[in-house]
Symmetry: C2
Subunit: 277 residues, 2 copies
C-alpha cells in the first residue's frame, strides 16, 4: 500500500465522521482501516476535535470503555444558527412570495437541501435534551426539514400520509379538524412504521392554528408512543393560542399583507454560545 | 487568534468542501478564512485531494483562472456503489415486506437518509454527463431519493403534486393514465417551480409500467423544458416494455411471489472503476 501521510489520514477521518453523524464508530474500526495504533488514532481524533471546535463545525466526542468509540455531533448554535435563520427570514420577506389568499410561497426554501440541512442541525441542537427515538412528519412539505432533523439525530423518519395507500399495508387512521379551515381531514400511518413505546419528535414546515400538529400527536398516542416535542420551521403569530400547547418555531410569521404587499418574518435567534466542547 | 496547526486546517477544509458538494468555492475565500497564502492553501487542497482519492471518498477538483476555485464532487462508483446497492437488495429481499396485493414495503429504506444519500451520489455519478439544471420528482415517496440526487448535483429540486394546492399559487396540471391501474390521474406543478428551457432529470422511487414517469416527462415538456433522463430506484422486470423509452433503474424487482413468500431483487452493479482522478 501507498505511504499515507498524517494529513491525508486526518482529512479522511474528518469526512468519515461527518458522513455518519451521531454514530458511535469503534476506535478499532479506524485503527484497522488506517493501519495505525490506538495512540496514533487518539492524536488524530484530537486534531479533528480541535479543528471542529475552533471553526465551529460541530463536536467530536470520544466515548471510552469496551463499547466506546468516536462520534460526530452536528451541533449548530450561536452565530452559525442565527446566520441561517436570518437568511431564511430575509428570503421569505419578499412580496412576490405572496400568493392570493394571503399564503406565502415557501417550497423553494423547503426543497433547498443546504438550508434544510442547517435547519435539521438547529432543531437537533435545540431538541437534543428530549432524546427522541424517531422523527415524524406528515406529507408533503414537512418531509424535507423532517428528514434533515432525522439525519442530524441519526434516527428513523416516519411519515404520516394524507390518505392510506395500499402499498404500505395496514394502517392506523385518524380524523382531525384542521384548525384554520375547520374541515375534517384524515391522516394515516402504516403500522410497520412506528413500534409502540417510542419517543417521537414531531416536525412540520408550517403551523397556523396547530390542527395538523395536534392530529400527529393523536396519531402518535394511538400508536402507543409518546410525542416528546413539536418543532415547526415557520409558525404564524396569529392565532396566538394554538391547538398544541408546546411547540418550537424557528421563524415567526408576523404579517402577510396582501394589499400592502408586505411580509414580516422574525427569526427566533438564541444568543447562547456553544457549551459542547 | 489561536495558533492553528496544519492538520486542524485540513480537517476543517475537508468538512467545508464535503458540506457543499459541486460548489466552486473561491480560493481567496479559504485564504482569508484560514489566514494563509495561496501557495499554502494549494498544498492543503492537494492533501485533501490525495486523501479522498486514496480512500475513495469522492473527488476534489481545482479550477484555475480568475473565476476559479476548488470543489468537491461526491462521485460514488465501483465497490462503494455496489456495496450500497447490494445492501438495499438484501434488505428488500425479505418476505415480511410483501404487502397483500403483491406490493413491496419500501418506505423504511426510502426514508433512510444514509442509504438515500448514497443513492443520490450513485445517480449523480451515472447521470453526470447529462448535466441537468434541476431534479424533478412527484410526491411522496420519490422525494427523498430525489432530494439526495439534488444534493449530489447541487441543483434545485422540483416536486410535482398529486393535486394542486392553493398555497403554491397558479399551477400547470396534466392528466395522465397510470400504466398499471389504467386510472386517470392528475399531476400538477406550480409555475414558480420550473422556468422554461431547463434540463430536467426525473427521479422516482418505483416504476412498474412507467405511467408516472411518462406523466412527469409531459409536465416538463408543457413547462417548456426538456427531460434529459429518468432514474428510478427500483423498476419491476415486468412489463418489460415501459411507457417511457429510456430509464435507468438502480435495482430490478424480478419477482414478488405472495404465495411462495418470495422476493427477488437484482442490483444493477457496474464494474467500472473511477476515472475521475
Amino acid at each position: 500500500m501507498l505511504k499515507i501521510r498524517r494529513v491525508e489520514r486526518i482529512a479522511a477521518l474528518a469526512k468519515m465522521l461527518v458522513d455518519r453523524p451521531q454514530e458511535l464508530l469503534p476506535l478499532s474500526f479506524f485503527c484497522e482501516y488506517f493501519g495505525i495504533a490506538k495512540s496514533t488514532l487518539s492524536e488524530d481524533i484530537l486534531s479533528v476535535r480541535r479543528s471542529f471546535a475552533l471553526f465551529r463545525l460541530g463536536v467530536v466526542e470520544t466515548v471510552y470503555g469496551a463499547a466506546g468509540g468516536v462520534r460526530y455531533i452536528p451541533y449548530r448554535e450561536g452565530e452559525a444558527a442565527n446566520r441561517v435563520l436570518t437568511e431564511i427570514a430575509a428570503r421569505l420577506t419578499a412580496d412576490e412570495r405572496i400568493i392570493p389568499g394571503g399564503f406565502l410561497y415557501m417550497s423553494d426554501i423547503l426543497y433547498d437541501w443546504r438550508l434544510m440541512n442547517a435547519v435539521g442541525e438547529i432543531f437537533m441542537t435545540r431538541f437534543a435534551a428530549l432524546r427522541p427515538d424517531c422523527i415524524m412528519t406528515v406529507e408533503t412539505k414537512g418531509i424535507l426539514p423532517a428528514m434533515m432533523v432525522a439525519r442530524a439525530f441519526n434516527k428513523p423518519l416516519v411519515i404520516a400520509r394524507r390518505d392510506s395507500r395500499v402499498t404500505e399495508g395496514s394502517a392506523l387512521s385518524i380524523n382531525y379538524v384542521s384548525g384554520s379551515t375547520k374541515r375534517i381531514q384524515t391522516m394515516s400511518l402504516t403500522k410497520r412504521a412506528l413500534a409502540p413505546g417510542r419517543r417521537v419528535l414531531i416536525i412540520d414546515d408550517f403551523m397556523k392554528a396547530g390542527g395538523t400538529a395536534k392530529g400527529m400527536r393523536e396519531l402518535v398516542r394511538e400508536s402507543g408512543s409518546e410525542a416528546v416535542g413539536v418543532g415547526v420551521l415557520v409558525a404564524t403569530a396569529e392565532p396566538e393560542r394554538k391547538l398544541v400547547e408546546a411547540y418550537m418555531p424557528l421563524l415567526v410569521l408576523r404579517e402577510v399583507n396582501e394589499e400592502a404587499r408586505r411580509v414580516r418574518v422574525e427569526p427566533q435567534l438564541l444568543a447562547k454560545e456553544a457549551e459542547h466542547e
